[in-house]
Amino acid sequence: MHETAILFLEFGAVLLGLGVLGALALRGGISPIPLYLIAGLAFGTGGVLPLATSEEFISVGAELGVVLLLLTLGLEYNADELVTSLTGNARAGIVDLVLNAAPGAICALLLGWGPVAAVAMAGVTYATSSGITAKVLSDLGWIGNRETPTVLSLLVFEDLTMAIYLPVLTTMLAGLSLMKGAVAVGIALATVSVVLVVALKFGRFIEAFVSSPNSEVLLLKVVGLALLVAGLAQQLQVSAAVGAFLVGIALSGELAEDAQALLAPLRDLFAAVFFVFFGFQTDPAKILPVAGLAALLALVSMVTKLLTGIYAARRAGIGKAGQARAGIALIPRGEFNIVIAGLAVGAGAHPDLGALAAAYVLILAAFGPLAAKLVQPFITAIAKRA
């Protein structure tokens, strides 16, 4: 068979399979991410149906998926919101960082995976999935709740932390010397600050350049700019993902909304490809031995997120039931954690890291939203009795 034919057949089959899985997830009311990961496991190395030719194509698609995921995440927030949440919720944000990075880092150190893997695992357990959490809030009608701003500003804080964390991780993974690493991190931090300042002060000029009444032109300009900055960031060892995220932050207002609407289908396509690709790289045979560990890690980090939510909501003067809801809303992990693990696996961190992260995210992406739904009646009952 012609190579293009095989590529289309395989890629088409993968996408169609994802579509069917997505429909299942929708019916069950869960995030499709865990199902995508499972599909990736089935198609990849050591899976039931390894693909012949399209793996390279899918790996490029996965990179695009990461860029688009981060770009649209950046579009959600504007620079003002980031600064406000940084100044207003710094303490809760730091508690979140310390409590939730610890389980992953400690786990990696106990396993003897070394400091680089510990930093990567810290990121895997730290970041809440803003995508899944936003969906949980909206599905359960929690958006109007008074603890919700606390949850959202923690998510913003986490995303901003990522802008600093990802370059640090990329540098460490690249195995640069201490001196070179420090320079790279310095460049990264300087870039992040410059972009934030530019977005705050001169956002209008960027918007004037990008904005267009024609959606086709707008799409090309936004994606082009994001890829350009992502490439530049990658070259500077800052990580392409962060570059795209910063482009997203620099754009705000109506333009950001239009761009978000235009990018959503593109992002959904390539993000799904990314999750599958991550599954590809993970050998399913390796999942089973780490499943118990992943479950334990998931349990511990559920508790730490719960504590984070309770602490942050209590500081905001929210009652007991609201505190519990804030904690539960923070439990889901998803895209970011896989992005982090993907970076680590790509750079050749410990071979079991990918499997552990995959199992961990599988549990929390699926169970997080479910937990929120199951617990809701209990919380209401507690509130009624009080």
């Binding site: 919101e81 958006i143 709740n145 919700t148 909304e257 609201g322 209401t380």
Partner: protein, 160 residues
């Protein structure tokens, strides 16, 4: 009565207040234009026990039912008195350069000779707002003036 305003990063804004009878109500203004009318649970005052989702049109209708008729009535009387005078209701769109800024900064009267006589926000009417009144996205500004001058105001509010 004190209306509390809270930013919801990535979503929009929430305004809420407690009625004299002790019921807490709020409005979530999504960036997409959707408005949620939320009623808080008396047992668990942080929880929205009822959320009424309203699209642009429905939200406008509700706001009009609650607040606008009185002011429109008064304006209609004004119309009858003066020929060539129109009153229009202009929304402050989300991307407006004046959302979050003081009314005085727009210098509407100096630039167009039309007058802002009221601002309707979430069903509440702020009659004759002063120059230090801060516009918010989603506000509806009631402007009185000639046909041309009110059109100019619309332009200023949308694009600066």
């Amino acid at each position: 009565m004190e209306v509390e305003q809270t930013a919801l990063p990535g979503i929009g804004l929430r305004h809420d207040f407690t009625t004299r009878a002790g019921q807490r109500v709020g409005v979530v203004s999504h960036r997409t234009g959707r408005r949620d009318l939320v009623i808080y649970d008396k047992d668990d005052p942080d929880r929205a026990c009822q959320t009424v989702k309203l699209n642009d049109e429905e939200a406008d209708a509700l706001a009009e039912l609650l607040g606008a008729p009185r002011i429109v009535q008064r304006l209609n009387q004004l119309h009858e008195q003066v020929e060539g005078l129109v009153s229009v209701q202009l929304p402050i769109p989300d991307g407006s350069p004046y959302a979050g800024r003081q009314m005085g900064e727009a210098r509407v009267r100096t630039r167009t000779s039309a007058s802002i006589v009221a601002v309707v926000r979430g069903g509440r009417v702020f009659a004759s707002p002063g120059p230090d009144f801060v516009f918010g996205a989603g506000d509806v500004v009631v402007v009185v003036g000639s046909e041309e001058s009110t059109a100019e105001v619309a332009d200023i509010l949308a694009r600066g």
